[in-house]
């Protein structure tokens, strides 16, 4: 029993210390007066890396998820003679839930893991140490632009996912299964509200962007500087980000809808 308590205590202390380190690193990274001339090009580069390069996977996934939703929705709604509500079903499902959540999961898998591996490799090859010894703070030069890029990119990626997802639902429902075009779009237009649906979607996406990007950056910065350490950190990023997104989704949904 004492041994079990000891193990639990050590585990708790390790986690608390890790959380403390993460908070300190976070504060050192983002609390600074930005030098726009130097920071802006770095930010643009990172938006390209984490955002623009994620667009393809987001669009393809969004299209297929929208198509599946259209097909499943049609099969269920036709039993209730309510296929006219397919537009509402597809739009609300994607905007309120699937858009931000699936985008965040894909983001964690594509950009989050890449960020962790990149930072871990910079650490293992002593590039971060070299930067410190050149009096350049790696938290400001390396971590901060990646963090802001993630925070900016996620809501935009989520919006793109929603747009293409709804279009996928329309392709199946209207173009393939023959639902009336006007009924599909007007149902959607009548039920989707900018403040009640799109607003919370953007908030969810921003929160997920914050959490996923921070988990990725901290795991990379704090990893053991070996191949195995980087590999573990990358896995931890995907697992922790996915669980955090799903858990936070429930909390945010309960608070906002």
């Amino acid at each position: 029993m004492t041994e079990l308590l000891g193990v639990l205590g050590r585990y708790a202390l390790k986690k608390i210390s890790s959380l403390g380190r993460s908070t300190i690193i976070f504060l050192h990274s983002i609390i600074a007066i930005p030098n726009l001339k130097k920071s802006f090009p770095l930010l643009v580069n990172q938006i390209y890396f984490v955002g623009v390069q994620s667009i393809i996977i987001i669009l393809v996934s969004g299209l297929f998820i929208g198509m599946v939703l259209g097909l499943q929705g049609f099969n269920i709604l036709k039993d209730f003679m309510a296929t006219g509500s397919l537009g509402t079903l597809v739009a609300l499902s994607i905007i309120r839930e699937l858009g931000p959540v699936v985008t965040a999961l894909l983001y964690a898998g594509r950009a989050g893991s890449a960020l962790t591996a990149e930072i871990g490799q910079l650490k293992a090859s002593e590039q971060l140490s070299a930067m410190e010894m050149m009096a350049v703070d790696p938290l400001r030069r390396i971590i901060a632009p990646r963090f802001w890029a993630g925070l900016i990119s996620m809501p935009i990626l989520s919006l793109l996912f929603c747009l293409i997802g709804i279009y996928g639902g329309k392709l199946v429902g209207v173009d393939w299964l023959g639902i009336d075009d006007g009924i599909f779009w007007s149902g959607m237009q009548a039920s989707v509200d900018v403040m009640e649906d799109l607003g919370p979607m953007v908030i969810k996406a921003a929160v997920f962007g914050f959490v996923c990007t921070w988990i990725a950056l901290f795991n990379g910065y704090d990893c053991r500087p070996t191949s195995e350490g980087i590999s573990r950190a990358t896995t931890a990023t995907v697992v922790q980000s996915s669980l955090a997104v799903l858990g936070l989704d429930f909390i945010l949904t309960a608070l906002m809808f």
Binding site: S125, E126, A130, E132, M133, V136
Partner: protein, 268 residues
């Protein structure tokens, strides 16, 4: 044995103790690094030679004791002050630690662009002059992945002198290099010290190479200073541990077999 006086020192390490992962690396270590000279820090593998450089650069913090750089306790500084002080030091890492996403030119230009407001034309000239000094001007537009180990170290050396620091720390500069490259690096370390008058600290276990150029030598072992003095004094030392290290004898006070291993016959 000659001593380094406090007033001649750029760096003073005072009674430093340091442990890492419950292993004691240093116990009351004290040493002085003389201004404008080349100081070699030698010692067997695993004695924490690189650790002393990281302590001087305040990338690590000692458990006890102080380290002073030009009279400033480096571990008492605030983050911003520490980064300001680091502009006066530089370090050549064992791997070179060149930024892999930049070519050699941009690597050398990096600290200059970060810390000065020089126009790009002037930065161009500064970088080329530094690269010329290490014989790497022709490789200015190659990426680190296209360089050999020796070339990468020379490029990193050009980067480390770019801001004209007071102190240059070399972490195992000769490891894994062929004899010609070792000769080149020895010449560069000596030339930089002579022409720029910079204080240099070279951590290495390549005895022959460093004794050719060092002005002062410390041998570290088991967390403390085993011997110190001019290269001549070290070579003439009577301490059997210093003799074993300098001559590279495979057995002696430093046993070939690790202590604490079980009885061989019993373990079989």
């Amino acid at each position: 044995m000659s001593e380094i006086l406090d007033e001649d020192s750029l760096i003073k390490v005072n009674n430093v103790s340091f442990s890492y992962a419950s292993k004691q690396i240093y116990k009351n270590l004290s040493l002085n690094i003389p201004k404008g000279k080349i100081t070699a820090i030698l010692g067997p593998s695993g004695t924490g030679k690189t650790t002393i450089l990281r302590l001087i650069g305040a990338q690590l913090t000692p458990d006890e004791g102080t380290i002073e750089f030009d009279g400033i306790n480096v571990h008492s500084l605030r983050r911003q002050e520490l980064y300001e002080l680091r502009k006066r030091m530089s370090m050549l890492f064992q791997s070179g630690a060149l930024f892999s996403d930049m070519n050699v030119f941009d690597n050398v230009a990096f600290p200059v662009r970060e810390h000065t407001k020089l126009p790009e034309e002037l930065i161009h000239d500064v970088v080329l002059m530094n690269l010329e000094a290490v014989g790497m001007r022709a490789a200015a537009y190659l990426y680190p992945s296209e360089l050999s180990g020796g070339m990468a170290r020379r490029a990193a050396l050009a980067r480390s002198i770019a801001l004209d620091p007071d102190l240059i720390m070399y972490d195992e500069p000769f490891v894994g290099q062929d004899p010609i490259t070792k000769g080149v690096l020895v010449k560069l370390i000596a030339d930089i010290n002579k022409s720029l008058g910079k204080t240099s600290v070279v951590v290495t276990h390549d005895v022959k190479e460093i004794l050719e150029v060092a002005h002062y030598v410390y041998i570290l072992s088991e967390g403390t200073v085993l011997g110190s003095g001019t290269p001549q004094e070290i070579v003439n030392s009577n301490d059997p541990r210093v003799i074993q290290f300098i001559q590279g004898d495979f057995d002696g006070p430093y046993a070939f077999k690790l202590k604490g291993s079980q009885n061989y016959i019993e373990e079989l």
